[in-house]
């Protein structure tokens, strides 16, 4: 593992830099400043930091009130509790009321490993997708996390961001590219099949692409960092131009990226599709890598699925 910097640290560092100029940026924590790596922000700008204790409904309500008064609150809290315990506050106080709240779910997916289903966040995208007006973003690596954080400060409106706990291998060589909320990034061009991934599984999709290239298959890789609003155009192009789609995500197979892509494909350009994610069960205990291997969220399995779809 070359990269040692977790995405949560990148968000903190970027906000520390931006908050120097922008006194409206605020960070809120729910006994989570350590887990969110936000202690440096809390120390640098105590006046722009709010601790609410272990109270996820309260943190969303308070941030909506702050946003209503012109502040730019970033709520940082474990993804599992932030996304679902407070979902009604997110629906009514953030999305419905149109407040400018950035909800940053940390340690998402199965990054809490052996802490079990209470701590896994693999239903969050499904729940967030059902709420009108809430954007959903999963950055792929540290470079994208930096560009995303800058974009979030500029963006007006409610956003749910989900990142993992541990450092992830880079998918981008640098942060020198254009990050646009709602616009997928074509990481690799390809003609035979398309792999669409989001968040930390983009790296796995890129590895699968390389393995497929060795087997003579040209796979396109789309980084769908924004799940809502979804880049339907990129999906329809992929369906038309490559004829088959595999989606990969650290989320339940129900209601996440795969479901979102399938809704577009089925209605606009039906092609064969496979959805790779966590099956409909409490995920097995273990490290992220062990859990991924167990459920076939791996480059070798994507390769096998692609070859199967192509009849090879």
């Amino acid at each position: 593992m070359a990269n040692k910097i977790p995405n949560r640290q990148v968000i903190c560092e970027t906000l520390v830099t931006l908050a120097q100029e922008d006194k409206d940026i605020m960070v809120l924590a729910s006994d989570s400043r350590g887990s969110a790596a936000m202690a440096p922000f809390a120390n640098a700008y105590p006046e722009q930091f709010v601790e609410v204790g272990i109270a996820e409904q309260n943190i969303v309500g308070i941030s909506a009130g702050l946003a209503h008064s012109g502040k730019k609150p970033f709520v940082t809290s474990p993804a599992c509790f932030l996304s679902m315990r407070s979902i009604e506050q997110i629906k009514v106080d953030v999305a419905y009321s149109g407040t400018n709240v950035k909800l940053v779910g940390i340690s998402g997916g199965v990054s809490y490993g052996a802490l079990g289903m209470s701590h896994h966040s693999v239903q969050d995208i499904a729940v967030a997708r059902a709420i009108p007006g809430l954007a959903i973003i999963l950055p792929a690596d540290r470079h994208e996390t930096k560009r995303m954080t800058e974009a979030l400060v500029q963006h007006e409106g409610g956003v749910y961001v989900r990142i993992g706990r541990n450092p992830v291998e880079d998918s981008y060589e640098s942060d020198d590219y254009e990050f646009v909320i709602g616009k997928a990034v074509t990481m690799r061009e390809g003609t035979d099949i398309t792999i669409i991934a989001t968040g930390e599984t983009v790296r796995i999709a890129l590895d699968a692409q390389a393995e497929l290239a060795e087997a003579g298959v040209s796979a396109r890789v789309l980084n769908m960092h924004t799940i809502k609003p979804l880049d339907e155009e990129a999906i329809v192009c992929a369906a038309q131009e490559t004829g088959g789609i595999i989606t990969v995500e650290e989320h339940s197979i129900h209601g996440g990226l795969g479901a979102a892509v399938a809704e577009v494909v089925v209605q606009q350009h039906p092609v064969p599709m496979r959805i790779l994610g966590i099956p409909d069960e409490p995920a097995i205990a273990g490290k992220t890598s062990e859990v991924f291997e167990h459920y076939g969220i791996s480059s070798s399995n994507i390769k096998a699925i692609a070859l199967g779809m192509l009849g090879k």
Partner: protein, 281 residues
């Protein structure tokens, strides 16, 4: 068990949980050490349970609302014979059922907890069912003090008093620390006893690392008919390991080889002091 036997048992459980966390390289050390005496009093003296019949309807119920401190509970359930002790070595490993929070696939665990602020409402439901069925079962619910910031705790507190659940005992592990530091700095709770009393509970405040005081408080409940009891167990986070006591980062710090050896020696000394007194056979 006698008072000294209970004290020795608590020290042994602390040794077991430290070894288990050290072996797994993960765990919530501070909060487990803090509540070991509470669980020892409940599981070896107070609760009516039968490890051979974990679902026996007449049993008392225990709910670990502060589910992250499951390590002491795993060690006690194994020691009481709910499952083989060897299984403790699988704690937090791939595919285990002994995960980092209570999991009711394991005999002796009633409900899956881990998201804070759920336990008391569940306990209210269990105590209500026991009343409706005219069973003698009591329900014990262990909460964290940091956990008190969740509004759901207070919704359940209200219901427990409203339904006059004198078969319900709430326990707060009042170690005055949560993850980010002192509870009074993160989200002030005081005056906490007055808040519970105002919600209609009978409040008893004790030294929560004193087994005799715990036994006395639990045996006395319900002291007042028609009122749930809240035991404010004033504890020390990291209790029993000198260098972990009251140190916030021991919340989920894993002992190094040296730290483990030092901690085990301290606890060994506690046990042998009781044995030397000839108070333990």
């Amino acid at each position: 068990m006698s008072s000294t036997e209970l004290r020795s048992k608590a020290a042994q459980i602390r040794m077991d949980l430290l070894r288990m966390i050290h072996g797994a390289k993960t765990g919530h050390t501070g909060g487990s050490l803090s509540n070991t005496d509470i669980l020892t009093a409940l599981y070896y003296k107070i609760m009516t349970i039968d490890p051979a019949r974990p679902k026996w309807q007449e049993r008392d119920r225990f709910i670990a609302s502060k589910g992250h401190s499951v390590e002491s509970l795993w060690c006690i359930l194994a020691d009481r014979g709910f499952f083989p002790k060897e299984e403790l070595a699988t704690f937090s490993q791939f595919g285990t059922r002994l995960i980092g929070h209570p999991n009711n696939k394991v005999p002796g665990i009633e409900m899956n907890t881990g998201a804070l602020g759920h336990g008391l409402a569940i306990s209210v439901g269990m105590a209500l069912a026991a009343k409706k069925d005219a069973r003698a079962s009591r329900v014990f619910c262990l909460m964290g003090d940091g956990e008190q910031a969740e509004g759901s705790v207070w919704e359940a507190a209200m219901a427990g008093a409203h339904y006059k659940l004198d078969n319900l005992v709430g326990i707060i592990d009042r170690n005055r620390l949560q993850i980010s530091g002192s509870t009074e700095e993160v989200m002030g709770l005081e005056p906490l006893e007055e808040k519970w009393a105002a919600f209609g509970w009978h409040v008893v405040s004790i030294d929560g690392n004193d087994i005799d005081a715990l036994v006395e408080a639990f045996e006395a409940a319900p002291a007042i008919a028609g009122k749930p009891t809240l035991v404010m167990a004033n504890t020390v986070k990291g209790k029993g390991v000198s260098f972990a006591e009251n140190v916030p980062h021991w919340h989920h710090h894993v002992p190094s080889d040296e730290e483990l050896a030092k901690a085990l020696a301290e606890l060994e000394a506690v046990i042998s002091s009781y044995t030397q007194e000839g108070q333990v056979q």
